[in-house]
Symmetry: C2
Subunit: 580 residues, 2 copies
């Protein structure tokens, strides 16, 4: 009897534990425990995460299933996310201060509705999110089939997936709950190739387009000079970057693994002021016959450190670059004391970005040449508002300092590895490289409308600190890039340096491009200036007829104002075509 | 020598004190000390206020002068202000946690530029702001002279005070720095009477109007059916309430005294969750030949307590009511536990309003009848986001509770005194009375386009809790009110109660109107329903020909579904005209 009692007690205890969704280890929590009979799983997630945090759980297990999330019951915070729009955001999975934690989706499908941010991580360490997919019931962008084009505009067929209404003779996109989805641009996609149409350009606008309905689902929009090919898809690009899928702020050791991002209203993974980020087996791809996946960059890294790894990913059909890794330049407004300077963030999507802390070293840079002329340690930081900050340095400011110069954290130089990724069919460029750490781009496939790889950086327009030091581009296939308007070569180095300064300012340094395959339909492979040590060797170049060669007169290797350049296009046998 | 030394020491000490801008009492601070050679006095104000707070000063003295303020260097906070638009705001005078403090403007003129909030008081007690004027270099609204009207639209002359540009065939208002000033409505003002034109209506819009420029300063706007009289002024109303002049939150014993508000982009004085507020000798009036003063209500009080006094004020030409005193109804979404309910703020300009605290009594009300069916004390409050809150009560929720009901703090019933005020020529109504405290409206002059006094409250549209208990309206002059579209009588009682419930729900109670003078150009003096105890006696009524009588067939006293009504129009000698 005594033994029997003990067994019964054990079973009871185990049942209790199971009932509470806690495994034998006592550290894993099952979302199932928190799910109620609600269509909206938001509250269950919030409660489960609160419980996990309280109990210092190691894992939230999400039973395989389809989950829907609305913004209504979601947690709210004002978010300043670099290269996104600042705003009061509803957040489904808000992880603040989580340590050694894992969210396992078990292949679940997450369907979001409206203006909501799926994942926001702040001050987290050693967190892994994996095995789930993200889509939206109604996308932030809209798509329509081009029926007819004339001088005044276009006739379009709009499917029921993109509800719209004509208000005061203007086209407004909405959803079934009458939430409005603002658009600010038009871009044509090739319906067969399912990529931006050959040499399609962006059309921007400030307000809703004049339009009329021909019959339900058929509209005419009015926009003088708008071009497009009947049968292709016209996309209405989302006006705001409000709802990026995974936002990582001030965190370290974060892994996003085996995640499919069918859609979001912003970026796929955006990490800021974080270190050691791995994005692995992440697929950004359109769903349900759409030509657009997500509405901005697939990934983006700002002021990050440590190691950034993108491996075994697919980034396709998003409306901006596959990645962009850079720092933030702040503009020198004026010297207000011998060692204090008023600095301003200038790009609205950088407003509120916490760009510096006491004890950190900053560089001072002339914005016309991007030449660094001083470095010093920051003694104190007084943030006035989201735009202006007073920074006091340890030492007196140099005499060279003048309004219009820029300053940046000089120690945000993560090592970067991008490997085994497929980067294709998106708007704009493939990848933008701006880290001063060791950067390896290996065994990827690029097929991008713009440059496959762009080295940029400037202190007057985007205010993105860049300037690489050590880049190896090896074993990649560049397949018919530059079929669009966003670049001038497959590999482009084009920092924002005045022509007069390009001979003295080698902003990007140490770029080696070797053992790659370039399939090209026109001549433009490299366009670079102001680089010190640029090596192009042992690459194979194949000429194709995939697209009409738009720039047939252009140089294959346009390299100016560079030092220590080796351009070795390889042996003749590597060519199966003549160079134009 | 010793005496001489002592005197020299004393003089030195005095000079030091004076140099620091501190008077002999050591508690008064002069702004002059912080002013530098900057056009923008914002930083000086921020530094002076920080110093005052640190030193526990009693007074900030602003030397008489003209001060300009830009948003650039202003402090920033996300503000949820009731009946305003929530947002990240730049604030010039941010007073947080000030006690026993005074800001004396000495008749200074404050000129603001762009999207900035002049005064925000949070958690303050015994603070007085006085002797200053507020205007903007470029107003949030725009004005234009009507030249010609046809079926398609209007030709307008726009003065240099309202910079504009035509962008993509649309009219955009801006300033010299190219900041955009969005508009969302049109309203005609009479150029001679300098008030909203007779029976002028609001025209609303979602986006910029189609327009063309005829020549610089002359434009044609296109809006089918838009009416207006050449020679009159068409005003473009500001789209947002972003920049109210004086915001008072969670404070007590606040006096705004001898202040002229020529302009702001929102309300003049808005107080929320505050008690004992005096607005005295405050003049809201247009400057520089404008027909519009400020772009929303002159004053507004939400969930306030104690005493509210408006005395010796002028509220004219603002684009909304002179005052509105009310509480906030939150909608019952659903019962989530025996004593817990999910509540939602429904009006976007109420989002984020902190409407309840533990320990406070709430009432539950049916929104169709506004009948209270339960009251209970709040045990706990869990705010999910700016829209949703879970409230737990001490006792179980009543069975009557259903989704769509509303709840409100039941103890926000300030006593109200409005006296010796001139309230005229504004858009909409004179005053909206919704406090359950003792309310006295005495010796004022009303000349309003809509109802002079409105008793409203509803739980389905504006969600404003009202329902007076004890109102005395005495000694006022009502001069030719109701020349516009915003009301149906000089005194209007029109709560949001379904017709079927008006016989059982006496939402407003105890309204006595006596010893007033009514000058009327048509018949409509009182329109009221669902009132218990309505007394109209000993008033003098004079018939005028100030405007064409638009509703000559209407009843003078339309009083339905009321109890305990006395309508005593006075002796025949009081009339100098025949009642229509």
């Amino acid at each position: 009897m005594a033994g029997n009692f003990k067994i019964r007690l054990l079973i009871t205890a185990l049942l209790l534990l199971l009932q509470q969704g806690i495994t034998a280890q006592g550290r894993e929590v099952n979302l199932g425990r928190f799910l109620k009979h609600s269509k909206d799983a938001t509250t269950a997630v919030a409660e489960a995460l609160a419980y996990c945090k309280k109990m210092k759980s190691t894992k939230l297990i999400i039973p395989r299933g389809v989950y829907e999330f609305w913004p209504d019951r979601a947690t709210e915070q004002y978010l300043f996310v670099s290269n996104n729009d600042g705003g009061l955001r509803r957040i489904t999975f808000l992880l603040e201060g989580f340590r050694n934690f894992e969210i396992s989706g078990n292949g679940s499908q997450f369907i979001f509705h409206g203006f909501v941010s799926p994942f926001v991580l702040k001050d987290c360490s050693n967190v892994r999110i994996h095995s789930l997919s993200i889509d939206w019931a109604r996308t932030f962008h809209s798509e329509a089939k081009i029926l007819k084009v004339d001088e005044a505009g276009m006739e379009l067929a709009v499917s029921a997936a993109y509800p719209y209404k004509i208000v005061n003779h203007r086209l407004v996109f909405c959803d079934k709950e009458n939430v409005i989805y603002p658009y600010n641009g038009l871009l044509e996609f090739d319906a067969l190739k399912r990529e931006t149409a050959y040499m399609a350009q962006d059309y921007w606008m400030n307000s809703d387009l004049p339009a009329k309905e021909i019959k339900p689902g058929y509209i005419k929009i009015f926009y003088e000079g708008l071009r497009g090919t009947p049968g292709n898809i016209l996309t209405f690009t989302a006006a705001g970057r409000t709802s990026s899928a995974i936002v990582i702020s001030d965190s370290r050791k974060i892994i996003v693994d085996t995640v499919i991002l069918f859609h979001c209203g912003g970026m796929g993974v955006i990490a800021q002021r974080s270190e050691d980020i791995i994005v692995r087996r992440v697929k950004v791809t359109p769903a349900k016959g759409r030509v657009v996946s997500i509405t901005a960059d697939a990934t983006h890294f700002v002021n990050c450190k440590g190691h950034i790894t993108l491996s075994d990913c697919v980034f396709e059909n998003q409306l901006d670059d596959a990645t962009n890794i850079h720092g933030i330049y702040v503009r020198v407004e004026k010297k207000i004391a011998p060692s204090s300077v008023l600095l301003a963030l200038k790009h609205p999507q950088q407003f509120g970005f916490d760009f510096i802390k006491p004890g950190v070293r900053m560089e001072l840079v002339h914005s016309n040449s991007l030449l660094r002329y001083s470095t010093d340690e920051v003694k104190s930081v007084h943030r006035i508002n989201s735009q202006y900050t007073i920074v006091e340095f340890k030492n007196a400011l140099p005499d060279l300092l003048k309004a219009g110069d820029v300053a940046a954290d000089m120690d945000v130089s993560p090592d970067v590895l991008i490997t085994n990724c497929t980067i294709r069919a998106n708007r704009a460029r493939g990848i933008l490289l701006g880290s001063r750490g060791k950067t390896i781009i290996k065994n990827n496939l690029f097929h991008n409308a713009g440059a496959a790889i762009l080295f940029e950086g400037d202190g007057r327009h985007w205010y993105e600190q860049a300037g690489v030091r050590n880049v190896l581009i090896e074993g990649n296939i560049f397949e018919n890039c530059n079929y669009g308007v966003w670049g001038n070569a497959v590999i482009q180095v084009g920092p924002g340096i005045d022509a007069a300064s390009r001979k003295i300012s080698f902003y990007n340094k140490g770029i080696t491009i070797q053992n790659n395959i370039f399939k090209i339909f026109d001549s433009r492979i490299v366009n670079a200036y102001a680089v010190d040590k640029f090596i192009f060797r042992n690459n194979k170049i194949f000429k194709t007829t995939a697209y009409p060669p738009a720039f047939s007169g252009a140089e294959r290797f346009k390299v100016t104002d560079c030092e220590n350049v080796i351009i070795d296009p390889g042996t003749a046998t590597d060519y199966n075509c003549t160079d134009r």
